[in-house]
């Protein structure tokens, strides 16, 4: 695809160009802040000190980052196969059902090291199942996966509201949520990790799923770049026709990729439902599935990039809450705007600065290559 633009050195292609895109997104966000009448530097100050200035702030930052790593990886795995899984939000939601059912079944009888793996399996399975139908329809019937996954987000929301209001609600209460989980479904917090750096976690819900997310990132890297199936995924993503011609089964690859993608999104629910809320409640994903799109684009669908991008979005979410608290003119939704600008500049307009980069950095083609 980059052929018409000329070859760029790797550090420009994978380092400078994405960085420039993200920086432009933040500069535009800064302009909006300025337009509202707040000094962008002051805003950044609140944001950074709120997100990183204390052990508790950092704990929240990494807790959010954990969620975004899962949803970002989910989007990225599908991207590699050329599939746009926009249904992360719904897969998280239904994944929460799997996690919640496992927790409700086991929390009174089993210790956490039994309940939490069971919840992870439940969340992965339910998230994957929710991705299965769009995947199967794409593979078998050619239904556009973008549209079907969008539809499945809304169907998931309706389903979960129905279940939480009519079936799973704790009797005698008004709010649509399950009973509180017992001790056996509490994921250990990572206070000890913060103590290594001499900081206190406080009330921040940073938990073991953070480490699980890092492991998941490594496994995704292993899967995509070090296995035969990963090679098939990437071939499919580059050219479906070539992949089919090479004997890669289209239906199997699409379906398995989407199962992995949906499962990863589902795992995010464990972080929130068991790691923080301690109950399954309405609208718990609160947009994290969509943040995954921005994270995957910013991280260029590479697990290492996704970890960095997820932490950056964790900073934005935690710091943004602090910022909105201290500066009344700025609301929490500022983050959604930044998210949108990151998606715009790092995603849709990713090649806007490429011609300039080519002019600056392109390797001089040797005479022998001048056939094109």
């Amino acid at each position: 695809m980059s052929a018409p633009y000329g070859q760029l050195p790797r550090w420009v292609e994978f380092g400078l160009l994405p960085l420039v895109n993200v920086v432009v997104a933040f500069l535009v966000s800064g302009l909006v802040v300025l337009f509202i009448g707040v000094s962008p530097l002051e805003a950044v100050g609140y944001l950074v000190s709120g997100a990183l200035g204390s052990g508790e702030g950092l704990g929240f930052t990494l807790y959010y980052a954990t969620s975004f790593m899962f949803t970002g990886l989910a989007v990225a795995v599908a991207f590699h196969a050329g599939l746009f899984n926009i249904g992360g939000e719904g897969q998280v939601y239904v994944g929460g059902l799997g996690a919640g059912l496992a927790a409700l079944a086991l929390d009174r009888y089993a210790p956490w090291f039994v309940t939490v793996p069971a919840a992870c399996i439940g969340a992965f399975a339910f998230g994957a199942a929710w991705a299965f139908i769009p995947a199967w329809l794409q593979a078998k019937r050619g239904s556009h996966i973008v549209i079907t996954t969008i539809m499945f987000n809304f169907i998931a929301a309706a389903l979960m509201v129905y279940l939480l209001v009519n079936v799973m609600k704790q009797p005698g209460t008004m709010s649509p949520q399950t009973r509180l989980f017992a001790e056996g479904a509490a994921i250990p917090r990572l206070g000890w990790l913060m103590q290594l750096f001499g900081m206190k976690l406080g009330t921040a819900p940073l938990n073991l799923m953070f480490l699980v997310a890092l492991v998941a990132a490594f496994l995704v890297w292993l899967l995509v770049w070090r296995t035969r199936f990963g090679y098939e995924i990437r071939t499919m993503g580059t050219s479906p026709t070539a992949a089919v011609y090479a004997g890669i089964p289209y239906v199997r690859t699409v379906v398995i990729t989407m199962l992995i993608s949906g499962g990863l999104a589902g795992l995010m629910a464990v972080n929130v439902v068991l790691g923080d809320h301690g109950k399954l409640q309405i609208e718990f994903p609160s947009g994290a599935g969509f943040v995954g799109i921005a994270v995957a684009l910013m991280g260029r669908s590479h697990p290492a990039g996704i970890v960095i991008a997820a932490i950056l979005f964790g900073i934005l979410y935690q710091g943004g809450a602090e910022l909105a608290f201290w500066v009344p003119n700025i609301s929490r939704e500022m983050i959604i705007l930044i998210q949108g600008l990151v998606v715009l500049f790092a995603g849709a307009l990713e090649n806007m600065f490429r011609p300039a980069m080519v002019r600056l950095f392109a390797r001089r083609p040797r005479a022998a290559h001048r056939t094109a």
Binding site: Y162, V165, I335, A348
Partner: protein, 332 residues
């Protein structure tokens, strides 16, 4: 008998009111997608133009010179806003040949964040705009003889409550359908627009600019998106509230797919989805004979389920425009 007619007319009138934003938005998507540009950003355009309409109307409502035209100025602001977002989408997906889906997602995020942010900064009401007086809104107009005919059985209520008694945007929505049909199937622009969505190479060979044609299609969609937003904030309600589009843009997208990207079926699909919405509101907590209480969520999810079933090819087959989603690259 009389009571059921009145009841039915009320549900149908509410169907009409609920389907209007869907009709505008689905038609907006129709122009874009028939020209080969997928438009996931319909929701964002609707939301942002709703905000623009309400902000403009609120800003000029008290002014002696502009006050009487507040609603129309709101509409204008909404249309301009929606066109700007369309052009942004066009710049990313036509000029820069970026991913059209990603660009649409970005527009939805930007609209969602920026409306609350700007609303909060301008009006200080947590993202709302101030409550508008009726003079700054599009209010219901009574067609001639509506009150005189009301006592007539059957025809009376139908004329007085279903046909009359809507605001002007409702009538514009229903006129926009035949107009779109005419543009698409009876003008040279429409022929080219449909061609560029199927085979841009052929259009290019004929010496017509693919990019300019697609930009024009997006501008048409922008205008209609502006109407949709205006209807939400200053016709159906008296001000903007955060996230007021509430997924209607996606229902409209579903309707567009369900209608197989054709204008007249778009009208009927939007009416069907609007009817489902009206019924869901009506049936809240009531039991149907023989079925029992139908969960509201089930009816709410029905448009999406129906669209997925259609896409799966179990009831007819929905074939999107052939060149949809693919940026056009001139041969080098």
């Amino acid at each position: 008998m009389e009571a059921t007619v009145t009841d039915l007319v009320l549900i149908l009138a509410s169907t009409v009111r609920l389907s209007v934003p869907l009709i505008f938005t689905a038609l907006a998507g129709l122009y874009a997608e028939r020209s080969g540009v997928f438009d996931i950003g319909l929701e964002g355009k609707m939301l942002f133009s709703a905000f623009a309409a309400a902000s403009m109307a609120a800003a000029v409502a008290q002014s002696p010179t502009f006050g009487p035209y507040a609603a129309w100025l709101g509409l204008l602001a909404a249309i301009v806003t929606s066109i700007v977002l369309s052009l942004l989408h066009g710049y990313a997906s036509i000029s820069q040949r970026g991913n059209q889906i990603i660009s649409g997602v970005a527009i939805n995020f930007i609209a969602s964040g920026l409306t609350i942010q700007l609303g909060n900064a301008w009006f200080g009401q947590g993202g709302r705009t101030p409550q508008l007086p009726n003079s700054a809104r599009f209010t219901e107009i009574a067609l001639p003889f509506a009150d005189a005919l009301r006592p007539v059985p059957i025809i009376g209520p139908i004329y007085a409550s279903l046909i009359s008694g809507h605001n002007v945007l409702v009538y514009i929505a229903f006129l926009a359908v035949p107009f779109t049909w005419w543009v698409l199937y009876r003008t040279r622009f429409g022929l080219r627009l449909r061609a560029v969505g199927e085979n841009p190479g052929a259009v290019d060979t004929a010496g017509i600019s693919v990019s300019w044609l697609r930009y024009r299609a997006l501008i048409c969609g922008g205008v209609l998106g502006g109407f949709a937003g205006t209807y939400l904030s200053i016709a159906q309600s008296a001000g903007f509230i955060r996230e007021m589009s509430a997924g209607k843009g996606f229902i409209a997208l579903a309707a567009l797919v369900f209608a197989k990207w054709r204008p007249v079926p778009v009208l009927f699909t939007c009416l069907l989805f609007g009817f489902l919405d009206a019924v869901a509101i009506r049936l809240q907590g009531t039991a149907l004979p023989g079925i029992g209480e139908v969960p509201v969520q089930f009816i709410q999810a029905l448009p999406y389920v129906l669209t997925v079933v259609l896409l799966a090819g179990f009831i007819g087959h929905a074939t999107p425009p052939k060149a949809g989603g693919v940026p056009y690259v001139k041969e080098r």
